[in-house]
Symmetry: C2
Subunit: 199 residues, 2 copies
Protein backbone atom coordinates (compact mmCIF):
# COMPACT_ATOMS: atom_id res chain seq x y z
CA UNK A 1 0.00 0.00 0.00
CA UNK A 2 1.24 3.45 -0.84
CA UNK A 3 0.78 6.39 1.49
CA UNK A 4 1.28 9.03 -1.16
CA UNK A 5 -1.60 10.58 -3.11
CA UNK A 6 -2.09 9.03 -6.58
CA UNK A 7 -0.83 12.00 -8.61
CA UNK A 8 2.27 12.24 -6.44
CA UNK A 9 2.82 8.49 -6.79
CA UNK A 10 2.48 8.93 -10.56
CA UNK A 11 5.08 11.71 -10.59
CA UNK A 12 7.46 9.55 -8.56
CA UNK A 13 6.92 6.71 -11.06
CA UNK A 14 7.75 9.05 -13.93
CA UNK A 15 10.99 10.17 -12.32
CA UNK A 16 11.89 6.58 -11.41
CA UNK A 17 11.48 5.61 -15.09
CA UNK A 18 14.35 7.94 -16.05
CA UNK A 19 17.76 6.32 -16.46
CA UNK A 20 19.92 6.30 -13.34
CA UNK A 21 17.12 7.50 -11.04
CA UNK A 22 16.13 5.04 -8.33
CA UNK A 23 12.97 5.02 -6.24
CA UNK A 24 14.47 7.11 -3.42
CA UNK A 25 15.91 9.74 -5.76
CA UNK A 26 12.59 9.87 -7.61
CA UNK A 27 10.80 10.58 -4.32
CA UNK A 28 13.27 13.31 -3.46
CA UNK A 29 12.88 14.94 -6.87
CA UNK A 30 9.08 14.75 -6.75
CA UNK A 31 9.01 16.30 -3.26
CA UNK A 32 11.35 19.01 -4.44
CA UNK A 33 9.08 19.86 -7.38
CA UNK A 34 6.09 20.00 -5.04
CA UNK A 35 7.96 22.43 -2.84
CA UNK A 36 8.52 24.85 -5.75
CA UNK A 37 6.17 27.77 -6.51
CA UNK A 38 3.44 26.84 -9.02
CA UNK A 39 5.09 28.90 -11.75
CA UNK A 40 8.41 27.07 -11.48
CA UNK A 41 6.81 23.63 -11.53
CA UNK A 42 4.84 24.74 -14.59
CA UNK A 43 8.05 26.03 -16.19
CA UNK A 44 9.62 22.62 -15.63
CA UNK A 45 6.71 20.88 -17.34
CA UNK A 46 6.77 23.44 -20.17
CA UNK A 47 10.49 22.89 -20.69
CA UNK A 48 9.88 19.19 -21.29
CA UNK A 49 7.16 19.83 -23.87
CA UNK A 50 9.03 22.69 -25.57
CA UNK A 51 12.22 20.68 -25.97
CA UNK A 52 10.29 17.69 -27.25
CA UNK A 53 8.31 19.84 -29.71
CA UNK A 54 11.07 22.09 -31.05
CA UNK A 55 14.15 19.91 -31.07
CA UNK A 56 14.71 17.57 -34.00
CA UNK A 57 17.60 16.27 -36.07
CA UNK A 58 19.66 18.45 -38.40
CA UNK A 59 18.86 17.26 -41.91
CA UNK A 60 22.56 17.14 -42.74
CA UNK A 61 24.45 15.81 -39.72
CA UNK A 62 21.53 14.42 -37.64
CA UNK A 63 22.68 16.38 -34.59
CA UNK A 64 19.91 17.92 -32.47
CA UNK A 65 18.81 21.36 -33.55
CA UNK A 66 15.80 23.68 -33.61
CA UNK A 67 16.27 24.90 -37.16
CA UNK A 68 16.41 22.81 -40.30
CA UNK A 69 20.21 22.77 -40.32
CA UNK A 70 22.33 22.92 -37.15
CA UNK A 71 24.74 25.73 -36.28
CA UNK A 72 27.80 23.64 -37.11
CA UNK A 73 26.58 22.49 -40.52
CA UNK A 74 25.47 26.03 -41.43
CA UNK A 75 28.71 27.68 -40.26
CA UNK A 76 31.04 28.82 -43.06
CA UNK A 77 34.03 28.61 -40.75
CA UNK A 78 34.02 24.82 -40.55
CA UNK A 79 36.11 22.58 -42.76
CA UNK A 80 33.55 20.74 -44.93
CA UNK A 81 35.99 18.10 -46.13
CA UNK A 82 36.08 16.23 -42.82
CA UNK A 83 33.24 14.40 -41.06
CA UNK A 84 33.58 13.13 -37.53
CA UNK A 85 31.16 10.24 -36.86
CA UNK A 86 29.86 9.98 -33.28
CA UNK A 87 27.16 7.81 -31.78
CA UNK A 88 25.27 10.37 -29.66
CA UNK A 89 24.60 14.15 -29.74
CA UNK A 90 26.42 14.56 -26.41
CA UNK A 91 29.61 13.27 -28.06
CA UNK A 92 29.54 16.32 -30.34
CA UNK A 93 29.65 18.50 -27.25
CA UNK A 94 32.58 16.52 -25.84
CA UNK A 95 34.64 17.02 -28.99
CA UNK A 96 33.62 20.67 -29.40
CA UNK A 97 34.82 21.33 -25.86
CA UNK A 98 38.36 20.59 -27.00
CA UNK A 99 38.30 23.51 -29.53
CA UNK A 100 40.63 21.44 -31.71
CA UNK A 101 38.38 19.85 -34.31
CA UNK A 102 37.04 22.16 -36.99
CA UNK A 103 35.24 19.81 -39.38
CA UNK A 104 31.62 18.66 -39.52
CA UNK A 105 29.91 15.86 -37.60
CA UNK A 106 27.61 12.98 -38.24
CA UNK A 107 25.51 11.66 -35.37
CA UNK A 108 24.50 8.01 -35.71
CA UNK A 109 22.00 8.06 -32.80
CA UNK A 110 23.12 4.68 -31.57
CA UNK A 111 25.55 1.90 -32.29
CA UNK A 112 25.10 -1.48 -33.90
CA UNK A 113 24.04 -3.91 -31.20
CA UNK A 114 22.72 -7.35 -32.14
CA UNK A 115 21.95 -7.98 -28.45
CA UNK A 116 19.53 -5.04 -28.39
CA UNK A 117 18.28 -5.69 -31.93
CA UNK A 118 19.86 -2.52 -33.33
CA UNK A 119 20.87 -3.16 -36.93
CA UNK A 120 22.39 -0.92 -39.65
CA UNK A 121 18.95 0.41 -40.63
CA UNK A 122 18.19 1.56 -37.09
CA UNK A 123 21.01 4.12 -36.93
CA UNK A 124 21.83 6.93 -39.35
CA UNK A 125 24.36 5.12 -41.56
CA UNK A 126 22.43 5.59 -44.80
CA UNK A 127 22.48 9.37 -44.30
CA UNK A 128 26.26 9.28 -43.80
CA UNK A 129 26.85 7.35 -47.01
CA UNK A 130 24.64 9.84 -48.83
CA UNK A 131 26.74 12.74 -47.55
CA UNK A 132 29.98 11.07 -48.52
CA UNK A 133 28.60 10.38 -52.00
CA UNK A 134 27.25 13.91 -52.53
CA UNK A 135 29.76 16.24 -50.92
CA UNK A 136 33.45 16.86 -51.30
CA UNK A 137 34.36 14.79 -48.23
CA UNK A 138 38.01 13.82 -47.96
CA UNK A 139 38.17 12.20 -44.54
CA UNK A 140 35.78 10.45 -42.16
CA UNK A 141 36.96 10.17 -38.55
CA UNK A 142 35.27 7.33 -36.65
CA UNK A 143 34.75 8.59 -33.09
CA UNK A 144 32.38 6.01 -31.64
CA UNK A 145 33.12 4.86 -28.09
CA UNK A 146 36.09 2.50 -27.63
CA UNK A 147 33.88 -0.38 -26.43
CA UNK A 148 32.83 -3.54 -28.26
CA UNK A 149 29.74 -2.08 -29.91
CA UNK A 150 31.42 1.20 -30.77
CA UNK A 151 34.35 -0.69 -32.32
CA UNK A 152 32.08 -2.97 -34.31
CA UNK A 153 30.07 -0.01 -35.59
CA UNK A 154 33.24 1.85 -36.63
CA UNK A 155 34.53 -1.27 -38.36
CA UNK A 156 31.21 -1.84 -40.16
CA UNK A 157 30.97 1.74 -41.40
CA UNK A 158 34.61 1.89 -42.45
CA UNK A 159 34.00 -1.10 -44.74
CA UNK A 160 30.98 0.60 -46.30
CA UNK A 161 33.14 3.67 -46.92
CA UNK A 162 35.89 1.72 -48.73
CA UNK A 163 34.38 2.15 -52.24
CA UNK A 164 34.36 5.96 -51.89
CA UNK A 165 38.14 6.02 -51.82
CA UNK A 166 38.45 8.55 -49.01
CA UNK A 167 40.55 8.55 -45.85
CA UNK A 168 38.81 6.77 -42.95
CA UNK A 169 40.49 7.21 -39.56
CA UNK A 170 39.84 6.23 -35.96
CA UNK A 171 40.50 8.21 -32.75
CA UNK A 172 43.84 7.28 -31.16
CA UNK A 173 43.88 4.91 -28.21
CA UNK A 174 46.28 5.49 -25.35
CA UNK A 175 46.69 6.57 -21.76
CA UNK A 176 44.59 9.59 -20.80
CA UNK A 177 46.51 12.86 -20.32
CA UNK A 178 47.21 13.53 -16.65
CA UNK A 179 46.51 9.98 -15.56
CA UNK A 180 48.79 7.45 -13.96
CA UNK A 181 50.34 4.38 -15.63
CA UNK A 182 49.64 2.44 -12.44
CA UNK A 183 45.89 2.73 -12.97
CA UNK A 184 45.80 2.13 -16.73
CA UNK A 185 44.26 -1.21 -17.68
CA UNK A 186 46.22 -3.74 -19.74
CA UNK A 187 44.27 -3.25 -22.95
CA UNK A 188 44.79 0.52 -22.85
CA UNK A 189 48.50 0.19 -22.06
CA UNK A 190 48.99 -2.31 -24.90
CA UNK A 191 47.21 0.05 -27.32
CA UNK A 192 49.36 2.94 -26.04
CA UNK A 193 52.53 0.97 -26.75
CA UNK A 194 51.30 -0.11 -30.20
CA UNK A 195 50.41 3.45 -31.08
CA UNK A 196 53.60 5.02 -29.71
CA UNK A 197 54.90 8.09 -31.56
CA UNK A 198 58.37 9.59 -32.20
CA UNK A 199 59.47 12.24 -29.71
CA UNK B 1 29.20 28.63 -26.11
CA UNK B 2 26.60 25.93 -26.06
CA UNK B 3 26.08 23.55 -28.94
CA UNK B 4 22.62 22.45 -27.92
CA UNK B 5 19.45 24.14 -29.19
CA UNK B 6 18.01 26.69 -26.74
CA UNK B 7 14.96 24.67 -25.67
CA UNK B 8 17.14 21.63 -25.03
CA UNK B 9 19.60 23.76 -23.07
CA UNK B 10 16.64 25.08 -21.06
CA UNK B 11 15.45 21.53 -20.28
CA UNK B 12 18.96 20.57 -19.18
CA UNK B 13 19.05 23.65 -16.93
CA UNK B 14 15.73 22.63 -15.37
CA UNK B 15 16.97 19.13 -14.61
CA UNK B 16 20.28 20.47 -13.30
CA UNK B 17 18.35 22.69 -10.87
CA UNK B 18 16.89 19.61 -9.14
CA UNK B 19 18.66 18.46 -5.98
CA UNK B 20 21.39 15.88 -6.51
CA UNK B 21 21.35 16.20 -10.31
CA UNK B 22 24.58 17.49 -11.83
CA UNK B 23 25.14 18.89 -15.30
CA UNK B 24 26.05 15.52 -16.83
CA UNK B 25 23.08 13.69 -15.32
CA UNK B 26 20.82 16.54 -16.43
CA UNK B 27 22.06 16.12 -20.00
CA UNK B 28 21.47 12.39 -19.88
CA UNK B 29 17.94 12.83 -18.54
CA UNK B 30 17.11 15.50 -21.13
CA UNK B 31 18.38 13.32 -23.97
CA UNK B 32 16.39 10.42 -22.61
CA UNK B 33 13.20 12.48 -22.56
CA UNK B 34 13.86 13.58 -26.14
CA UNK B 35 14.21 9.96 -27.16
CA UNK B 36 10.75 9.08 -25.79
CA UNK B 37 7.61 9.10 -27.95
CA UNK B 38 5.76 12.44 -27.87
CA UNK B 39 2.97 10.99 -25.75
CA UNK B 40 5.32 9.80 -23.01
CA UNK B 41 7.19 13.09 -22.83
CA UNK B 42 3.82 14.83 -22.61
CA UNK B 43 2.75 12.40 -19.86
CA UNK B 44 5.87 13.31 -17.92
CA UNK B 45 5.10 17.01 -18.19
CA UNK B 46 1.46 16.37 -17.25
CA UNK B 47 2.52 14.38 -14.19
CA UNK B 48 4.47 17.36 -12.89
CA UNK B 49 1.53 19.73 -13.33
CA UNK B 50 -1.05 17.26 -11.99
CA UNK B 51 0.93 16.53 -8.84
CA UNK B 52 1.56 20.22 -8.26
CA UNK B 53 -2.13 21.06 -8.82
CA UNK B 54 -3.78 18.25 -6.88
CA UNK B 55 -1.46 17.56 -3.99
CA UNK B 56 -1.67 19.75 -0.92
CA UNK B 57 -1.38 19.39 2.83
CA UNK B 58 -3.88 17.47 4.95
CA UNK B 59 -5.68 20.06 7.06
CA UNK B 60 -5.12 17.96 10.17
CA UNK B 61 -1.65 16.42 10.02
CA UNK B 62 -0.11 18.52 7.18
CA UNK B 63 0.95 15.36 5.33
CA UNK B 64 0.56 15.46 1.53
CA UNK B 65 -2.85 14.40 0.25
CA UNK B 66 -5.28 14.98 -2.60
CA UNK B 67 -8.40 15.16 -0.46
CA UNK B 68 -9.05 17.56 2.38
CA UNK B 69 -7.97 15.03 5.01
CA UNK B 70 -5.34 12.35 4.40
CA UNK B 71 -6.02 8.62 4.50
CA UNK B 72 -4.31 8.18 7.86
CA UNK B 73 -6.18 10.99 9.60
CA UNK B 74 -9.50 9.81 8.17
CA UNK B 75 -8.95 6.15 9.06
CA UNK B 76 -11.00 4.87 12.03
CA UNK B 77 -8.45 2.13 12.70
CA UNK B 78 -5.74 4.50 13.90
CA UNK B 79 -5.12 5.34 17.52
CA UNK B 80 -6.06 9.04 17.80
CA UNK B 81 -4.39 9.53 21.18
CA UNK B 82 -0.85 9.47 19.79
CA UNK B 83 0.80 11.91 17.38
CA UNK B 84 4.18 11.19 15.83
CA UNK B 85 5.94 14.42 14.77
CA UNK B 86 8.18 14.14 11.71
CA UNK B 87 9.94 16.78 9.66
CA UNK B 88 9.10 15.62 6.10
CA UNK B 89 6.28 13.69 4.35
CA UNK B 90 8.75 10.97 3.33
CA UNK B 91 9.40 10.26 7.03
CA UNK B 92 5.76 9.18 7.36
CA UNK B 93 6.41 6.58 4.69
CA UNK B 94 9.52 5.34 6.52
CA UNK B 95 7.61 4.81 9.75
CA UNK B 96 4.55 3.31 8.01
CA UNK B 97 6.83 0.78 6.34
CA UNK B 98 7.53 -0.71 9.76
CA UNK B 99 3.82 -1.59 10.29
CA UNK B 100 4.39 -1.03 14.01
CA UNK B 101 3.09 2.45 14.69
CA UNK B 102 -0.67 2.88 14.64
CA UNK B 103 -1.18 6.45 15.74
CA UNK B 104 -1.48 9.69 13.78
CA UNK B 105 1.26 11.92 12.39
CA UNK B 106 2.15 15.56 12.25
CA UNK B 107 4.41 16.74 9.46
CA UNK B 108 6.40 19.88 10.27
CA UNK B 109 7.66 20.47 6.69
CA UNK B 110 11.11 21.41 7.88
CA UNK B 111 13.17 21.82 11.01
CA UNK B 112 14.26 24.89 12.92
CA UNK B 113 17.45 26.16 11.35
CA UNK B 114 18.79 29.59 12.25
CA UNK B 115 21.51 29.14 9.60
CA UNK B 116 18.89 28.86 6.84
CA UNK B 117 16.59 31.43 8.46
CA UNK B 118 13.92 28.85 9.32
CA UNK B 119 12.18 29.91 12.52
CA UNK B 120 9.22 28.49 14.50
CA UNK B 121 6.70 30.31 12.29
CA UNK B 122 8.12 28.77 9.11
CA UNK B 123 7.26 25.17 10.02
CA UNK B 124 3.93 23.72 11.13
CA UNK B 125 4.36 24.00 14.90
CA UNK B 126 1.30 26.19 15.48
CA UNK B 127 -0.91 23.55 13.86
CA UNK B 128 0.53 20.88 16.16
CA UNK B 129 -0.17 22.92 19.29
CA UNK B 130 -3.71 23.50 18.04
CA UNK B 131 -4.23 19.74 17.64
CA UNK B 132 -2.86 18.97 21.07
CA UNK B 133 -5.12 21.64 22.57
CA UNK B 134 -8.27 20.50 20.74
CA UNK B 135 -8.07 16.70 20.61
CA UNK B 136 -7.77 13.94 23.16
CA UNK B 137 -4.00 13.54 22.57
CA UNK B 138 -2.15 11.61 25.26
CA UNK B 139 1.31 11.27 23.76
CA UNK B 140 3.46 13.12 21.24
CA UNK B 141 6.42 11.19 19.85
CA UNK B 142 9.19 13.42 18.51
CA UNK B 143 10.59 11.66 15.43
CA UNK B 144 12.69 14.38 13.82
CA UNK B 145 16.08 13.30 12.49
CA UNK B 146 18.82 12.64 15.06
CA UNK B 147 20.98 15.52 13.81
CA UNK B 148 21.61 18.92 15.37
CA UNK B 149 18.65 20.68 13.77
CA UNK B 150 16.28 17.76 14.32
CA UNK B 151 17.32 17.57 17.97
CA UNK B 152 16.91 21.30 18.49
CA UNK B 153 13.47 21.22 16.87
CA UNK B 154 12.37 18.29 19.05
CA UNK B 155 13.66 20.06 22.14
CA UNK B 156 11.92 23.32 21.21
CA UNK B 157 8.57 21.66 20.56
CA UNK B 158 8.76 19.50 23.67
CA UNK B 159 9.07 22.67 25.75
CA UNK B 160 6.03 24.20 24.07
CA UNK B 161 4.11 21.00 24.87
CA UNK B 162 4.98 21.07 28.60
CA UNK B 163 1.89 23.11 29.64
CA UNK B 164 -0.48 20.56 28.05
CA UNK B 165 0.57 17.96 30.59
CA UNK B 166 0.84 15.09 28.10
CA UNK B 167 3.55 12.51 27.54
CA UNK B 168 6.27 13.74 25.14
CA UNK B 169 8.72 11.08 23.99
CA UNK B 170 11.67 10.82 21.59
CA UNK B 171 12.68 7.94 19.31
CA UNK B 172 15.31 5.70 20.94
CA UNK B 173 18.95 6.12 19.96
CA UNK B 174 21.17 3.10 19.60
CA UNK B 175 22.97 0.77 17.28
CA UNK B 176 20.99 -0.12 14.12
CA UNK B 177 19.62 -3.67 13.99
CA UNK B 178 21.84 -5.94 11.91
CA UNK B 179 24.83 -3.60 12.04
CA UNK B 180 28.24 -4.08 13.53
CA UNK B 181 29.60 -2.52 16.74
CA UNK B 182 32.89 -2.02 14.95
CA UNK B 183 31.34 0.49 12.57
CA UNK B 184 29.16 2.33 15.07
CA UNK B 185 30.37 5.87 15.78
CA UNK B 186 31.20 6.96 19.33
CA UNK B 187 28.14 9.14 19.81
CA UNK B 188 25.80 6.33 18.78
CA UNK B 189 27.57 3.79 21.00
CA UNK B 190 27.47 6.13 23.98
CA UNK B 191 23.75 6.71 23.44
CA UNK B 192 23.23 2.94 23.11
CA UNK B 193 24.94 2.37 26.43
CA UNK B 194 23.01 5.18 28.14
CA UNK B 195 19.74 3.82 26.82
CA UNK B 196 20.46 0.16 27.63
CA UNK B 197 17.43 -1.93 28.61
CA UNK B 198 16.89 -4.96 30.89
CA UNK B 199 17.06 -8.33 29.18
Amino acid sequence: MSFFPATLENLIDKFASLPGIGRKSAQRLAFYLLSLPDSEAQAFADAVVAAKTNVHCCKICQNLTEGEVCSICSSDRRDRSTICVVSEPRDVLSIERGHEYNGLYHVLHGVLSPMSHVGPDDIRIKELLQRVADDEVEEVIMATNPDTEGEATAMYISRLLKPFNIRVTRLAYGIPVGSNLEFADDATLNRAIEGRTEM
